[in-house]
Every structure is written in C-alpha cells, then in structure tokens.
Amino acid sequence: MLRIKPGTRHRVTVTVNGRRHGGFAEARTLLSDFLRHELKLFGTHVGCEHGVCGACTVNIDGRAVRSCLRFAVQVDGAEIGTVEGLAEGGSLSPLQEAFRRHHALQCGFCTAGILISATQFLETNPDPTEDEVRDMLSGHICRCTGYEGMVRAILDVAGGSS
C-alpha cells in the first residue's frame, strides 16, 4: 500500500475526459481540490465538502462519485469524467440540451454534479419512472429550481432515447 508522509507531495496522474493530466497532491488533498486547483478544471463545484450536496460529483471509472469524499492520491491512474467532457465535439449532449429546454438550471452551481449523476443513471436505467428519477436526484441539493425542470428534462431524454 502506498504510504505518503504528511507534508510531502505525490505525483498523481489521471485521465480526465479522455486526456492525461498530471499534478501534485498531498496525502490529504481532496480530489475536488485537485481537479479544481491543481488541474484547473473548474467545472466541478464544491457545495459542502462533507458529502451531502452532490455538487462535486464526477465519474470515476464508470461510477458517479463525490469528489469531496475521495483523496486525489486514491484515484491515481483512474479514468475520470467531469462536466467539461459531456459535450462531445462542441455540441451539447441530449441531456444538456434537455436541461436547457426545460430550464433545469438557474445559477448552475449544482448542475455539473447532477449532469454527471443523471448521465450515469440513464446508462444503467434508460427508462426510469418519475419516482426513480426523483430518488436519484435525492443525492443532490439544488436551491434554485425546486427540481421540477430537471425531473422533466431527464424523463424527456429517457423517453426520447428508449
């Protein structure tokens, strides 16, 4: 098992949205801080840093995970997906489009995490019920929208793709 002395910095290499990135992290550096302040990928947001709000959610090796609950050194070598990677080739993904159409975001601070969770959710459950969508969203806090627009957007995309 990797042991890192306090105060020393360790090189971490990850693949983010298909590109290799490297940076330095202490043992205690949160993945959220590493992504934002070391790799300068500011699209991932931090709303609580204690694992409740879901704003910091990223995809690690195919699973939606809260990046404030991971240390950067734990993900050395991993494949990470962030909000910056959702629009392929410069055009919005169907889910992003639906979020726009259904006014599923206001300040947009919670949105990155929700898009990551919802994208992965639809991969495993392409035809969800409204209750299932709400249940998935219960891992996220949005203070602006009342969730209605995002429920509609996710159901809309699910309906369209099934």
């Binding site: 699209g43 709303g47 709000c53 975001l105 300040c107 209750d131 806090i141 203070r143």
Partner: protein
C-alpha cells in the same frame, strides 16, 4: 419570438445556460484575479457568549507556510465600526474584539500558502475565553435583569417603535370578534449552493482597496464599507464575479467579511482569498429572523376585517447589522396586505441574542408578515364560520380601485385579487377538494385546507429603512428616497452591442431578459447582444440601489435597460436617416437593419450604421456626439421619503399571489403530506415565461423547506445544532410536492413594460398556507412551522384532530 414579433414575452432559452452546462462559467472560487494570493481561514468562536481574555497567535505565526495572523484587536485598530440605521451604541466590527457574541463569530484570521495550511494554523491559536451566560430566549432577553450583549445599550432591545394608522382602538372596541394568535416563526436560510467568496487586495500610494466577490448588493453597503475602511468611494473598488451560485438575499450578509479581508490584506501586505466553507456558512453567514409575535384581527360578524394589530418581536442575533432593521419595515407600508382594512397598529421590538446576525433572505420579512396576517384570516374565518376563500373575497381591495393608496403609504399599482382567487379555486377544484376533506374526516383521517394571499412588493424605495427612525430623527438625518436603476448600452466599432446591467444575478437569467428587451428596441436578436451583469464600481454606472434584491430586476432595472436601448435606437435611427435621406421618425430598426418604414428594401445594416459613429464622426448629423455609449439612470415614480405620519411608498410594483394548500397528516408518524398546492400569481406583463415559471418553482421549494423541515437550531447554551447539510435539511427532489401554477396578470402602470417583480413568490406564502392547512386538519390554531415529524406528532398526540 411571440406572435407579435417581439422577443419580450417569449420563452427564450437562456443565454447563460451553455457555459453553465459545459462547466465553463466562472464563479468566484475559479478566479485568481491578482498574482501572489494567500489563502485565508478564520478561527471562529466555540462559545455563544464569552469575554476574550487573551489570544496567543505565536505558534500559528511561526507555522511553516503561514504568512501572518490577524486578530480582532488588529481589526478594531485598522477599521471603524459598521453602523446601521438604528442609532445605538454598538460597535460592530467584522471580528470579535474583546467579547464573542455568537458561536461562529470570527476571532482570528490566518493567511497561508493554501487553505489546508491556514486551517492547520488555526489549531495553533490559543484563545482563553471567560464564558458569560448566553442569551437565547427572546422573552428572557427582554427582562430587565437579563445578561446584556451590548452593555452600552443598557438593554437587549435595540429598537422599539410603534405605529398607528387610522383608528385601531375604535375598530377593536367595535369589533364583533377579535382573533388573536401568538406565534413563533423559525430561523432559516436559503443556503445558496455556492458559499461566500472574496479576494481582497490593498495597494498603497495612494491607499486603495479592490475586492472581487460574489456579493449581491445592495451597493448602498459600499458606502458603509468605505466608512469602515476609512476611504472615499473611489478607493474601494468592488468587482463582482461573472457568475454567482445562488444568493436569495444571503450574499448581502457577506459585506462585513469583505471589510475584514480588505483590512487584513492591508495589515499583512498581501492579497487574500477566502472561500467560506459550508460549516462556516451555516454558523457564520446570515439568516432570516426568527420571531415571537402576536397578531390580533378585528372582524365584524359578516367577516369584514376592520382592524389589525401586529406585535412583533424580532431576534436580530448578536448585532443589528445594516440594512437591518429593514426586515420588519419592508412590508410595513403594506401592512393591510391585499385587504381594504384601514385601522392598523404595529409595534416592533428588535432584540439582540447570542445568535448569528440576521439579514436578507428570500421574501425578506414577507414570510413572517404574511404568516401573521394570513394565519389570522383563516383563523378568523373558522371563528366566524365563514369559508376561507369567502372571507378574503369580502375584504379584497376591489379591482376598480387601483392605484390604491394603502393606509401606511404603499401605492399598489394594479391588481385583480378576486380574479386571482377565483383562478386558484378553479385550479384546485375547490368544491371537490372540500368534499374530499369531508369524506376523509368521515373516515377519521386528518385532512385540512389552508389558504394564503400576498401582495409582492418589488423595487424597493431605499427610504423605507428610515421608518426605523422617528420623523424628528429623519428630519435631522436629511432626506432619503428612491431606488435608482442604471444600465449602459454600448456599440463598439465592429457594430456589436453590449448591455451592462450591474444587476449581479445569481441564476435569475438577467442576461437573457436584458437581451430580449434590447433586441426588441434595436431590431436585433438576443443572440446578437452580449450582456455583462457584473458590477465594477470604478468603471460602471451604478448607484446605491444597484444589486440583486427585492425583486428589483423586472420592476426597475428592466426600465433602465429599455431606456438605454431607446437612446441607442434613437441615435442609430438619426444616423441612418441622413444616409437614407429621410426623417429619423421614418426609420425603424428591424431584422438587423435600419430601414425606411414601409419601404423595407431601403435598408442599411444596423452594424454599419452603428459603427459609423466611431469610424466617421465627421459624417454624422450636426451636433451628434460620436460613438455609442448610452447610460440610462431611471428613478421609479413616486418613491418619496416617509412623511411625518410614517407613511411611505415602499416599492415600485406590487404583484399578487394566492396560494391554496391541502394536507393530510399521518396520525401514526406526524408526517404532513401536501396533497395539493395551487399558486396563482400576478407578475404584470410576463417578460420570459420560462424564467417566470422557474422563479415560481424555486420560491415554492424555499417555502416548502421553511414549512416542513428547515430550521437553524441552537441549544440553550447557544451551540448551533444545524452546522452541516446533514443537520440543516434542505428539501430534495422526492420531498417536493407537485405545484399547480396559474396566472392572472395585470400590467403595472409604474413600469415601461408593465412587468412587476416576482422573485419572492411562494417563499413568502408556503409556510403560511401549509400552516393554515395543518391548523384546519388538527382543529387547533397553535401550530408553528417547521412541521417536522416530532412536532406534528406531538400536536396529534396532544388531542389534535378532534374535527
């Protein structure tokens, strides 16, 4: 576009969205506006009330990576106290000096190479406290022998004024029925998903400060910050971040932190960045006031409301922090609500306790005010045996009496309250709903229906805050009035248009709506127009009222945008007229061109005409100023100072909301299930239906949170018990009841586009409508939110539900 060929009124998707959806929008923590930043962390008091005996920073200062440490004594030497409109001897500094007054109050600041190191060093600071008895109970706080937060004031009651309009004594003496409710309202907060954040830089020779932040205004607080830092306004430059992750009023409360960081930057000689974490936010930012009030309503037997008394006791927390006591005065001049009642008595007492200081929060004073008034209406209806809808109908201000001068001075611009009520009843299927209630009750279930209506003030008159002063004090202080809106529209030498709104939005889509308004005026599309919403106090056109609060965008800022766009349009038309050899009146701007009315083929591209004002000044009509850089400053009509009888026109427009809630309570668990919720709004002319609906849904979520689960709880010792998102419960998607929205919109004559502000919405009413439904279900009036399982279960066990 709408069918009429206009952008205003159409559900234009938001300009803001693409950057937000792709992770490219920039928030304050994404910014590093100056090199050499150090990161600040704050040591906060673990005690609610204690003397500070000593602060030893030596170990922290020598910790590797630490740049320096600042204490309250340093801050008090480097700044002046921040005043409020209430003249009491309270020295409010942004950091505790010799005494802490709430758990979470800043005690020291560490600047270090990163936040991790700064937080390490916090643990090395040794503070010796001498605990004092905490003042947490509002009643006890007002006792003569209560421990005091501020010795020099001589009391914890820091403000007390009472007001009389009409003849309330006679009304109450002549009433057939007086309903009195004693109620408590919980302290809660909209907790935006993005916390406070700021970067402060001090530069010498001459001394000046620059602060980048997600502060939302009002920029009247800029003047207070200048006073605290001892600099004129042109030496304190405030710049807001491009995006702000929600605010709902809360980000007003960060200005003391901005003063603190600015002063610390000066003391330490480095620029400082501070991003509040969630734990800090929940104990140290701001919240709406908790209150312990009473309301009395005097009725005739036929349901006519003839008198009201509001006895308000407001917990302001440890300090009265400007713009408080505004939260009790925002609704004051509309104390009659939607009703004709003319006899009103209001008594306001503001009390300091060892809690976090209060400030703006969605609805600002509205949720508490309407709780009193609208609980009294439902209770009055039940006492008199009149239907809850009918009693309101009998008291509404009639549709033909607008503009309506309210007894305490508000001027309601337009409305049709009865139509709004009818729409709500129709959407709710009211008759069937009542029949369903009867059936449920026959089966022994606890089912209740409640109602609440509100008028929604928008675009504040800055002068309403001076109601906190007596007419004599106001006369001595000099005149105050108004709420200016500003906007600058420029067209650069390439002919592209930029609108600067200085409106600091936090998700409300200002850029989209501003572009719609400008596009209509200039004959362009919203995509042709870029909008800059942030404030820079050194380079932009702004004023005291600038910022994002009190629903002011669609009631004030929008008119400034319209006016600036008109100035630009006039200029472009005049330039084109010469080239087209027609009179300016015969030129219209449409389809990206300036063209002759009725002769669309005689047209010039907008871009070329506009660019000419830069490229070829000699070719412009005689006397025309070259370039296009038009600033409009609008002063909404009728916003004078309070008169000698304490009447003031407090806002520009008054929307209307009628909410109806049906709930069922589970006897076994105490769970309140919202079975139906209908909300009908009068927002004036709708500027963008997509955004209007979004605001209504979002306000509803805050109202539901306040009604069912949210509360900032302290124990008797003053320890905050809701310091994480695992303890402070925000509503999530499965808890949201379905909302049925309706509209009865009456255009405002006070705004150029007929729009009214509408951002508070159901945040002001859902706690009340749901409380009324709970009262109806349980057959008792002593019900106070939040309606958590425990609380409701206790009410049920205590014999509720006899009906």
């Amino acid at each position: 576009m709408t069918e009429g060929g206009r952008w205003v009124g159409a559900p234009v998707p938001r300009k803001e969205d693409e950057a937000l959806l792709t992770g490219h929008a920039r928030f304050i923590d994404d910014m590093e506006p100056v090199p050499g930043l150090r990161h600040a962390a704050l040591l906060r008091s673990p005690h609610a009330h204690a003397d500070i005996v000593s602060v030893d920073i030596s170990n922290a200062v020598s910790h590797p990576g630490v740049h320096g440490v600042v204490t309250g004594v340093d801050i008090s030497a480097a700044t002046r106290p921040i005043p409020s409109a209430v003249r009491v001897p309270i020295d409010y500094y942004p950091m505790a000096v010799d005494k802490v007054r709430y758990a979470g109050e800043p005690v020291a600041l560490v600047a270090a190479e990163d936040r991790y190191v700064a937080e390490d060093a916090l643990e090395l600071i040794e503070v010796e406290y001498r605990p004092l008895p905490p003042v947490m109970d509002l009643d006890a706080a007002m006792d003569d022998d209560s421990p005091l937060l501020h010795e020099a004031v001589g009391s914890n009651v820091v403000h007390h004024r009472s007001f009389r309009y009409g003849d309330p004594e006679t009304a109450f003496a002549e009433a057939d029925r007086v309903v009195r409710l004693d109620w408590t309202f919980p302290r809660y907060s909209s907790t935006p998903m993005e916390t406070y954040g700021a970067v402060a830089q001090f530069e010498p020779a001459p001394d000046r400060y620059t602060i980048w932040s997600n502060f939302q205004g009002p920029f009247i607080l800029h003047a207070l910050m200048c006073g605290a830092l001892g600099v004129p306004g042109n030496r304190l430059r405030l710049i807001t971040s491009p995006q702000s992750g929600g605010s709902f009023g809360i980000k007003q409360g960060m200005y003391p932190y901005m003063v603190l960081l600015a002063a610390a930057s000066r003391l330490l000689g480095v620029p400082l960045k501070w991003i509040e974490d969630r734990l800090e936010h929940l104990v140290g930012s701001s919240a709406a006031s908790n209150r312990e009030d009473a309301v009395e309503a005097a009725f005739r037997n036929d349901g006519t409301l003839i008198g009201l008394k509001f006895l308000n006791v407001v917990d302001v927390g440890a300090f009265i922090r400007a713009p408080e006591p505004a939260s009790v005065y925002r609704m004051h001049s509309a104390s009659n609500g939607a009703y004709r009642v003319g006899n009103i008595y209001v008594d306001n007492r503001l009390v300091t306790t060892n809690r976090l200081p209060i400030g703006l929060n969605r609805g600002y004073g509205g949720p508490q005010f309407f709780f009193a008034l609208e609980r009294a209406m439902d209770a009055g209806a039940r006492a008199l045996g009149i239907d809850i809808a009918e009693i309101r109908r009998r008291n509404f201000i009639p549709r033909d009496s607008f503009p309506y001068r309210a007894p305490a001075g508000a001027i309601y611009d337009a409305g049709d309250y009865e139509a709004g009520l009818d729409r709500a009843l129709e959407l709710a299927g009211y008759e069937e709903l009542r029949a369903g209630r009867d059936r449920a009750r026959d089966e022994g279930r606890l089912f209740g229906i409640g109602m609440a209506t509100a008028i929604e003030p928008s675009g504040s008159n800055m002068a309403y805050v001076t109601l906190a002063q007596t007419p004599e004090e106001r006369a001595r202080a000099g005149g105050r009035s108004g709420g200016l809106g500003t906007c600058t529209i420029s067209v650069d030498p390439t002919g592209s248009v930029t609108v600067k709104t200085v409106s600091t939005p936090a998700g409300q889509g200002h850029a989209t709506v501003a572009a719609q308004v400008a596009a209509d005026a200039l004959g362009l599309t919203p995509d042709d127009i870029d909008v800059v919403t942030e404030v820079d106090t050194l380079t932009g056109a702004w004023s005291l009222a600038s910022g994002n609060y009190a629903n002011r965008f669609s009631s004030v800022v929008i008119d400034a945008i319209g006016e600036a766009a008109r100035l630009v349009a006039d200029k472009v038309r005049a330039v084109a007229a010469e080239d087209l050899e027609v009179a300016a009146e015969d030129v219209e701007l449409a389809d990206g061109t300036a063209r002759v009315v009725g002769v669309p083929e005689k047209a010039l591209p907008f871009r070329r005409v506009a660019a000419k004002t830069h490229w070829h000044p000699a070719g412009l009509p005689d006397g025309m100023t070259p370039g296009i850089f038009e600033t409009a400053i609008v002063s909404p009509p009728g916003l004078g100072p309070p008169d000698e009888r304490d009447r003031v026109a407090s806002a520009v427009t008054f929307g209307f909301i009628c909410d109806l809630a049906a709930v069922e309570i589970d006897r076994g668990t105490g769970r309140v299930e919202v079975r139906k919720y209908v909300s009908v709004h009068d927002v004036g002319n709708v500027l963008n239906p997509l955004i209007v609906e979004g605001q209504i849904l979002g306000g509803f979520a805050h109202g539901v949170g306040g009604a069912l689960m949210e509360e900032m709880v302290y124990d008797e010792e003053g320890n905050p018990l809701s310091g994480t998102f695992a303890d402070y419960l925000c509503v999530t998607a499965p808890e949201m009841p379905a909302l049925t929205v309706g509209h009865v919109d009456t255009p405002s004559p006070h705004t150029a586009l007929g729009a009214k502000g509408m951002g508070d919405g159901c945040s002001m009413l859902a706690p009340t409508a749901i409380a009324n439904a709970v009262a109806d279900a349980l057959g008792r009036e002593d019900v106070d939110p939040p309606f958590t399982l425990n609380r409701v279960w206790d009410l049920v066990a205590d014999g509720g539900g006899a009906g």
